[in-house]
């Protein structure tokens, strides 16, 4: 039993103790080719999410470069409309569904959340692994379709009736719909894992009031995912039914309605923006605190802002539909709601400035990216205020002004924080520091290129260039600005190449990081880099918001968890008192097999509705295999031991 061991901190020296060896044995993940598919540890799955999502960022970037190349001159013959429509649809779908959410929510969330909570693994690790394979399945379907000339060509939003059976024959729109099902099931699965981990696996003492802001944001995002994603699944599901079995949800001739689709889609689509932005804000809050060398100013206002953003995000969807001709009263309501979003976002901005102002800022590499975020996202947020105004929106809606706006918001709100976060947690993930010099080159190239490209697009929008056109006439005089915008791509590409070189080099020859190179406060920095498969030698306890800064040296650790089975500690959702122990189900091939059968059913249903009844039995079989009880099941002990003071 673990109690007999001497109690030592969660550092590298402990790696040699007997307890560490036993835990390493109990929590080991299978190796080898087959073992790869059985792995259920959150650090491994989290990094897989990130690497896969990054690959799709690069692929989406290639598509973006193709778009910029096509528009570089009027009447360019590089791409015809058929290919161009596929390319911009693929670009949007890839970036939103295969990059932004899987990277910012799933990738960072799965990797960081259990470590920050002080947990040995994520809750429901098999569901987590299953979600990863399903995400990969969706990505393969989408890109498989594109590479065989059946890439979706109806826009990432797939408005009906254009995407309906009458105007999009073939399977292109079906592939889009099913990709949505894949990726949304994946995001929902991870949302359940993350929310449960945060609510039930926090270290004893980490009450809601002491929860790091990042965990608050992940909790809010998980709940937003749970309530937003069903809307897009309903929208794409009904679209698929219209296309596949001849229902009439969106067919005006038979009592269907085209705006219904837009309502359903944007009821998801706008919260989606916050699902992408809030993880970025979470990273910024963490980094600002760490590099200002002081407790973050305004913990409570920031948390309230995050929760408010989550709520208000659900009441602004109609601002994507102003041009459909709504009654003025609802226009005013949605304008007001859209403007209201500025208040919580502004609060966070002001708190960040205040923290930096009254702290002792150290402008190290991750912080440089934070400043990039401040600048870029500020511009995006301000142009968002313009768009909330209905009359202005009616002019610039669906023009390159909007393209510029949301690239400032999404690249500002996701990509800049992502690089900040990657550079920040790179030592934790790899055990080595990333090169600050190359990182600075990466930053300046990317920052410069980004602003060249996307600031220019504002002007094109005001000059009347609509989105999603594959060409334009020379008499429109849009060429000069398009050339300028396209040159930015060169710098952004160069920046990304420097980043890849930096990662490759630093992984092999970077300076050894140690447990806590930034001397940050989060629990993830109390374990070795990279963390062992059991994460914490002893599950920690905390007595403040910034555990590693505040905890006294005699801060107790949890003992009494068995080391011969994968026992985890379950604590109370609100005050994080220990409640009971649970058993981690351990590695398994079944999540992968289940993902394969589910994928087969989904892909089959692109072609025939019979795929659902035919595909259901294998799915059920694999799910039973997954959930069938086996191995040692702990016996319940009736007496409950209270918190020991």
């Amino acid at each position: 039993m673990a109690v007999a061991e001497p109690i030592v901190a969660n550092d590298q020296d402990a790696g040699q103790s007997g307890l560490a060896r036993r835990l390493a044995h109990t929590w080991r993940q299978p190796k080898g080719f087959l073992g790869w598919f059985c792995n259920t540890h959150h650090t491994d799955i989290g990094i897989r999410f990130m690497v896969t999502a990054f690959i799709f960022l690069l692929l989406g970037g290639v598509l973006a470069a193709m778009i910029r190349l096509q528009l570089i001159r009027p009447e360019n013959s590089l791409m015809g409309p058929d290919l161009y429509n596929q390319v911009f649809t693929m670009h949007g779908s890839t970036m939103i569904f295969l990059f932004a959410v899987p990277m910012m929510f799933q990738g960072f969330g799965v990797y960081i959340v259990p470590l920050m909570c002080g947990a040995r693994n994520i809750a429901f690790p098999r569901l987590n692994a299953f979600s990863y394979y399903l995400y990969v399945g969706g990505a393969l379907v989408l890109w498989g379709g594109f590479l065989t000339n059946t890439g979706p060509d109806v826009g990432w939003f797939a408005y009906v009736p254009l995407s309906g059976p009458a105007y999009s024959p073939g399977h292109r729109a079906d592939i889009w719909s099913q990709m949505i099902t894949f990726t949304e099931v994946s995001a929902l699965g991870v949302a359940i894992c993350i929310a449960t981990t945060i609510l039930r696996h926090r270290a004893p003492g980490m009450t809601l009031n002491r929860m790091p802001i990042l965990l608050w944001e992940k909790l809010v995002i998980s709940i937003a995912v749970i309530f937003a994603m069903p809307a897009v699944m309903i929208a794409s599901g009904l679209l698929l039914l219209d296309r596949l079995v001849g229902t009439h949800f969106f067919n005006p001739a038979e009592g269907g309605d085209v705006l219904l689709y837009q309502h359903l889609f944007w009821f998801f689509g706008h919260p989606e923006v916050y699902i992408i932005f809030l993880p970025g804000a979470a990273i910024i809050s963490t980094l600002v605190e760490c590099f200002s060398r002081r407790r973050i100013f305004g913990y409570t206002p920031i948390v309230v802002s995050v929760v408010a953003t989550g709520f208000i995000g659900f009441s602004v969807w109609v601002h994507h539909m102003f041009a459909t001709g709504l009654p003025q009263l609802s226009e005013s309501f949605f304008t007001a709601a859209s403007l209201m979003i500025v208040i919580p976002t502004g609060t966070q901005f002001f708190c960040w400035v205040a923290t930096i102002w009254y702290g002792r800022l150290q402008l190290r590499l991750p912080m440089l990216w934070c400043f990039g975020f401040f600048f870029v996202f500020l511009i995006g947020g301000l142009s968002g205020v313009m768009l909330a105004s209905v009359p202005v929106d009616l002019q610039v809606h669906d023009t390159y002004f909007v393209v510029a706006h949301f690239h400032y918001v999404l690249i500002g709100g996701a990509l800049f924080p992502m690089f900040a976060g990657i550079y920040f947690w790179f030592p934790k993930m790899t055990g080595r520091m990333a090169s600050a010099k190359l990182g600075a080159w990466h930053f300046w190239l990317f920052f410069f290129g980004f602003n060249i490209t996307f600031f220019t697009l504002h002007f094109l929008g005001l000059r009347g260039m609509p989105r999603r056109i594959y060409t334009y006439g020379p008499d429109m005089h849009w060429q000069g600005l398009n050339i300028l915008a396209s040159t930015g791509v060169i710098f952004m590409t160069a920046g990304l190449l420097v980043f890849l070189a930096n990662v490759y080099r630093s992984m092999h020859t970077g300076e050894i990081a140690g447990n806590n190179p930034w001397e940050d406060a989060g629990l993830e920095w109390s374990v070795s880099s990279p963390p062992p498969p059991y994460n914490f030698l002893h599950v920690p306890t905390v007595s403040g918001r910034d555990p590693l800064w505040e905890d006294p040296p005699d801060q107790p650790v949890v003992v009494g968890l068995r080391d011969d089975i994968r026992e985890t500690l379950v604590t109370h959702s609100l005050d994080a008192d220990p409640q009971h122990k649970d058993e981690d189900p351990g590695p398994s091939i079944w999540p992968f097999l289940a993902a394969v059968t589910v994928s087969a059913a989904f892909v089959g249903s692109i072609f025939t509705a019979w795929a659902i009844p035919i595909g259901a039995p294998p799915v059920i079989a694999t799910l039973i295999g997954w959930l069938w009880p086996r191995g040692q099941s702990p016996t319940p002990l009736p007496n409950e031991v209270p918190w020991i003071h």
Binding site: A123, T247, E640
Partner: protein, 207 residues
Amino acid sequence: MDSLIEPIRRPRALDVSGLPSVAFGHRNTTWLANVFYMAIEGMMFALMFATYFYLRTRSTNWPPGHLPPAFTFGAVNAVVLVLSIVPAWWIRKRAPDANRRAVRNGLLILSFFALAATALRVFEFTALNCRWTDDAYSSTVWVLIGMHSGHLATELVETLVLLAISFTSKMEGTRLADAAINSDYWYFVVVTGLIVDSLIYGTTRFL
């Protein structure tokens, strides 16, 4: 919990070896996941209900040119669903006592109810007085009832699997908690089923 501000002096170890290894009710982690799952499914149902009423506003007659679905099977099924709450409640109540026999019997009875509800549902489909390809109204009716049937079938399979487990020696600890959680989910299926029934059979006649 003690005051959040003043740190309390504690011994250097927090011994949790005496804590139970299984929890029932809201303390169970799977219970929480099940709540999230019901939130997702509930959201889907809510959006389909919204779709139903939205499409209704776009049509002058409702149902447009159809007879409302014949309600005999639906009414019987509603009664079956309501009565099935009893075995579900029984399982939920007996599981924490580790009363394996009671839970097994409860699962057995619940399985019969689930089978009956599923069988009746098949007949309900024949009495809808429309085909999904007719118009938007018919599509909505079919998808509403189809969606709920999917849940019914899932719940049937889950109950049968738990029943199978209950005949083995593995029906203990966490599995008992799972059986109780299954009852929670059954409640959800019953409630959504009654709402779907009231939309399909009720609002087409009385609203």
